[in-house]
Amino acid sequence: MNFDLTEEQQILVDSVARFVQNDSGTERFRKLRESARGWEPAMWERMGEYGWLGVPFPEEQGGVGGRFVDLALILEQLGRGLVPEPIIPSVVLAGGLISRLGSAAQVERFLAPMIEGRTSLALAYAERQSRYCLHEVQTSAVRVPGGYALRGQKVWVLNGHAADQIVVVARTSGSQRDRAGLSLFVVDAGARGLSRTPIGGMDGQRTALLELDGVEVAEDARLGGEGEALAHLEWAIDRGAAAACAEGQGAIQELFDRTVAYLKQRQQFGVPIGSFQALQHRAADMFSELELCRSTMILAAIQADSDDAEERQAEISAAKLQLSHGGWFVQENAIQLFGGIGVTDEQDEGLFFKRLRVLQGLFGDADHHVDRFQRLGRFSADR
């Protein structure tokens, strides 16, 4: 048992940290949040050249053959700079599913160019009525000659506005809440009948609202077996949650470091405000929650690769709860300790605050994960 980074991991973390420091700090994010796309294809290609986009994929698919925890370490560093390139939707969600379920031809066509940073991907799963339930799906895929016709609406599709291909969850059989009967389809962004409306998020990142009006896809656009998608989708969304914890960790750490620096610098009553015990104790409590976030984040990232679905779900839910409650404690107090300027757009702290709140809600909020945890078989089993 060893929690230390390996030498390779340390080199990776250092190089991503340098990248954020030199090329992708909050100034860059501020410019990009004003742009239509919200992120830069040139930077995406650079990430491809660095090999970051291929970390969790096996070498035979053109990936690096790393573990999920390596990707989490990258995301943690990127979170410190609010780097907006779409790693979570493209690499973790859609890329993960294509790698897991795709035929050799599908991998070659959809995954390989993404790993090189030439294309990006998205996963469309959420619907207006679905909340966090992954099998609450109305979007239908009806068989037509040579393939399927997809009809329905998908909301808040991360990177849906810019993706070259979108993996769409649709029902091939069963009724609205059935666990069986879900299938995955790779839909080209330019497909006829697909309309996407870009929607900006409060965090300055972009999503899309998708309307599928009889979008026809060929048989070979289906990922994995017909009607068998749910377990894989749950796996992918779990990894999304672990990734959100990792990126969130960087944001929390950055917010906390900035707050402590401010406590030492800001003077009131003729002394630094950090000399007041009321604020010292608050900072100490924030530090405790930060450390718990890091502990659960690491464990979740390791469990993201686990074959034991219950253990994976237990640890990822615990991490997501900690991000949502412990992380929230850090972010709300960071703003409070900055005082009025913490609520100005000019100050960076609000940017981290907003990104964190988005990450906390993505892939299941605290209530959802607590409820899922109590439904696990091992919760009820005698020890």
């Binding site: 406590l263 000399s275 100490a284 450390e291 718990l292 640890e315 109590q374």
Partner: protein, 395 residues
């Protein structure tokens, strides 16, 4: 980074898991299975069983009678001990004065004291706090004045937990009054049973047990050879010990046990035609507690693993003290909620009114208010974090 257990470590877990119930006398096993609390004599009985097996001091070096296990084995062992609800050993010898002697004691002191800590022949207690030296421990007043080969001690210690069962007490005493208050403190070992002038008076806690005592010293003579480390050099050693104590008294492993206890109570608490464990709202409360426990246990493991690599538990252990004790208390609060009307009951209620596995819950719920106070109050721990980790000004 690798958190998995090797097949060899998993075999070790199996071995421990099988051994514990076989090693327990029948009475003890029954109580352990019922999740009951244990008396001092049962705790010492279990101490001797572990000693004979060679498993009494997993955290001591092998040369002085420890097991020589790595952090993974120690973690597994601790998990299994807690899982089995075995009696909790007294920490004062094995985890406090023992490690301090190993680090700072001379050869003679080690030979004299360590074997009997291991065997359980000598039970220890801690003499740190005084009526006017609590959070401000360094202002302690117990005087130790040199006279011939001895120190003569006068003053009072308080919160000397289980002093009435102890054979020896380690005390912080004032041997110097010059300079800073931290500089005139020495670390002394006193025979609490046989030294004329030492009196112990237990008193009841709100938990209804006599966990606390006061200890008076009136012209009590302690040989100078029972001083550990240099004269007036006790504070630094005591501080090193406190860092170690903090990782221990978070009660993190115990909190894990309480999660299971709450589930058991919920399962055995009838509500209408079902049980409380069928209630999704209550299950979510338990789930939240268990998820928090996982987070805290993981943070603890990270600290243990770092210690294994030779990094002393520093100010980071203050985090574990804070979040651990808060969790510990929360667990007892949830257990009380789970009991419903049974939470009215006290441990002397008959079995017909209060089942065995609920018997000590109210007592522990009350006593464990102390958890956020003892071992350096949680507010003191926050001061330590602010000063030593965050380096905030004037802290």
């Amino acid at each position: 980074m690798d958190l998995s257990f090797t097949p060899e470590q998993q075999n070790f877990r199996e071995e421990v898991r099988k051994w514990i119930p076989r090693a327990m006398p029948a009475d003890m096993r029954r109580k352990a299975e019922a999740g009951a609390s244990f008396h001092q004599d049962e705790t010492m009985q279990w101490h001797r069983i572990l000693y004979e097996k060679g498993w009494i001091a997993p955290h001591w070096p092998k040369e002085v009678g420890g097991t020589g296990w790595d952090v993974a084995r120690r973690f597994i062992f601790q998990e299994e001990i807690v899982r089995a609800n075995a009696p909790e050993l007294s920490p004062f010898g094995l985890s406090m004065v023992g490690p301090l002697l190993i680090q700072f004691g001379n050869a003679e002191q080690k030979a004299r004291f360590l074997p009997k800590i291991l065997s359980g022949d000598e039970v220890w207690c801690q003499g740190y706090s005084e009526p006017n030296a609590g959070s401000d421990l360094a202002s302690l007043q117990l005087r130790a004045v040199k006279d011939g080969d001895d120190y003569v001690l006068n003053g009072q210690k308080t919160w000397t937990t289980y002093a009435q069962y102890a054979d020896w007490i380690f005390v912080l005493a004032r041997t110097g009054t010059d300079g800073k208050k931290q500089e005139g403190i020495s670390f002394l070992l006193a025979d609490i049973k046989n030294t004329p002038g030492i009196t112990v008076k237990p008193f009841l806690t709100t938990g209804g047990t006599d966990a606390f005592s006061e200890t008076w010293f009136k012209d009590a003579r302690v040989p100078q050879k029972n001083r550990v480390g240099p004269e007036n050099g006790g504070w630094a050693m005591a501080k090193a010990l406190l860092g170690h104590e903090r990782t221990l008294i978070g009660g993190i492993a115990e909190s894990g046990k309480w999660v299971q206890r709450v589930k058991r109570i919920a399962r055995e608490t009838p509500v209408g035609t079902g049980t409380l464990f069928d209630d999704p709202a209550f299950r979510r409360r338990i789930a939240k507690l268990e998820m928090r426990y996982r987070a805290v246990a993981m943070a603890n493991l990270r600290t243990l693993a770092a210690a294994q690599l030779g990094r002393a538990p520093g100010a980071e252990s203050s985090i574990l003290k804070i979040v651990g004790t808060e969790l510990y208390q929360e667990a007892t609060e949830l257990a009380m909620d789970a009991m419903g009307h049974d939470a009215i009951g006290w441990y002397d209620a008959p079995e017909s009114a209060l089942p065995e596995h609920e018997r000590w819950v109210a007592s522990q719920f009350n006593y464990l208010r102390a958890a956020t106070i003892y071992g350096g109050s949680n507010e003191i721990q926050k001061n330590i974090i602010a000063k030593q980790i965050l380096r905030l000004p004037g802290a």
